[in-house]
């Protein structure tokens, strides 16, 4: 299982990445949407992207649009992980093609619950 953690905060990338590694994920990081697209263009296709909204260069919403415009990346699950928490923002992200939405601040258990909803806990996949 592979996850790409996209956030301009190193601290947040480390927090999300550490939790995902504990679940058995292979994790790569990107500091903005553009860097994340570079990783995908390399051919490293993750099962899951955790995507911050507000980032320099290319924000999370633009990244979601870019991934959804590419049929080759249809299998990639997109989850926003952001402090943006108005109903309108959540609706906008889901309409753009994000599958789930985790609001900051969150606990490790909350991230785990979302993975369970998405069927992306490694134990669910192997079961």
């Amino acid at each position: 299982m592979r996850a790409l953690v996209i956030d301009d905060s190193r601290a947040m990338r480390r927090i999300v990445g550490t939790i995902l590694k504990d679940f058995g994920y292979e994790v790569r990081e990107a500091g903005d949407g553009r860097q994340a697209l570079d990783v995908l263009e390399e051919g490293w296709t993750p099962d899951l992207c955790c995507i911050d909204w507000n980032m320099p260069v290319m924000d999370g919403l633009q990244f979601v649009f870019a991934v959804r415009a590419n049929p080759a990346l249809r299998q990639v699950t997109l989850m926003m992980v952001t402090t943006e928490s108005e109903t309108g923002q959540i609706v906008k992200a889901l309409a753009a093609g994000a599958h789930e939405y985790l609001i900051k601040p969150f606990t490790a258990d909350a991230l785990r619950d979302k993975l369970a909803l998405l069927g992306l806990l490694p134990e669910q996949v192997t079961a």
């Binding site: 928490s85 108005e86 109903t87 959540i90 609706v91 889901l94 994000a98 789930e100 939405y101 985790l102 609001i103 601040p105 969150f106 606990t107 258990d109 909350a110 619950d113 979302k114 369970a116 909803l117």
Partner: protein, 274 residues
């Protein structure tokens, strides 16, 4: 006055046994902070005194409160998803076929805590049935008045809605109220919340088509488990469904139930002629 190593260890084992949540060493301050109000409420000077009191005189109600206090914000919406996927996948179609269209389906969330289970059921049914608001009534009960009031209010913190509630359901069924989220009035009206002690004779409720009695029996000894299951059965329709927690079963406790495998989980139905 501070927490002794023995008390911390006892609490650690209790919480792990009852909730599978591990309190790492170093979380003494957390136990202290969360349990001190409970100790003070009971006129005890500290958390170790509270632990001593419960160890000397075991009391399932207090034990459950201790676990709840230490696992607050731990309640997930679709906790152990199977009892919910089974509800809409198997149970509901059978009930709808078996009941008259004007008969209300009655569902009981028997240890509702802050209401996540009852509202999860309400959301699923309102998505599955066009006339859910008039077709279904959900009874939510808890031992604690504070929990019953929280269920009635239907307001949840951001940390609470982050716990396993699909984002699509959050935006469809909740509106923001300050920094909290409030369930829609339509769903709130489907739920009647009241206090109820499962370990004592039950008020006249039901009869229920579906009962969620999850993670309650684990707190009680065998005779009490049997008494609770017997009383619950009295309030159920003969073709009703009972859901227990993932670590709970009627097997070896009360033989008046039939276990039915549903997906990856199971449900229990009153045995015919019992």
């Amino acid at each position: 006055m501070s927490l002794t190593a023995t008390s911390f260890d006892w609490v650690r084992q209790l919480v792990h046994r009852e909730s599978a949540i591990v309190l790492q060493p170093g979380k003494e301050y957390l136990v202290e902070a969360r349990l001190l109000p409970m100790a003070q409420q009971r006129g005890l000077s500290g958390v170790s005194e509270l632990v001593e009191a419960v160890r000397n005189r075991p009391d399932p109600a207090t034990t459950r409160r201790i676990v709840e206090a230490l696992t607050t914000n731990e309640t997930s919406w679709f906790r152990d998803g199977d009892p919910f996927t089974s509800l809409t996948g198997t149970v509901l179609p059978q009930l709808v076929a078996a009941r008259r269209p004007d008969e209300r389906l009655q569902i009981w969330s028997a240890a509702c805590s802050s209401g996540q289970e009852a509202y999860t059921i309400a959301m699923l049914l309102s998505d599955a049935l066009p006339n859910a608001a008039t077709r279904v009534s959900i009874t939510a009960t808890d031992l604690s008045r504070a929990m019953v009031e929280r269920t009635r209010a239907g307001r949840f913190s951001q940390l609470e809605v982050n716990r396993g509630l699909p984002a699509s359901m959050l935006v469809r069924h909740f509106t923001r109220a300050g920094n909290e989220w409030e369930i829609s009035p339509t769903l709130r009206r489907m739920i009647t919340a009241s206090e109820c002690n499962l370990a004592a004779p039950l008020p006249r409720l039901g009869p229920f088509d579906v009962v969620y009695l999850r993670n309650v029996l684990i707190y009680f000894d065998l005779p009490t488990k049997q008494a609770i299951l017997g009383r619950v059965r009295q309030l159920m329709r003969p073709d009703g469904w009972l859901f227990l927690g993932a670590a709970e079963t009627t097997l070896g406790v009360d033989e008046n139930w039939e276990r039915v495998v549903l997906g990856r989980g199971s449900a229990y139905r009153p045995r015919k002629g019992a």
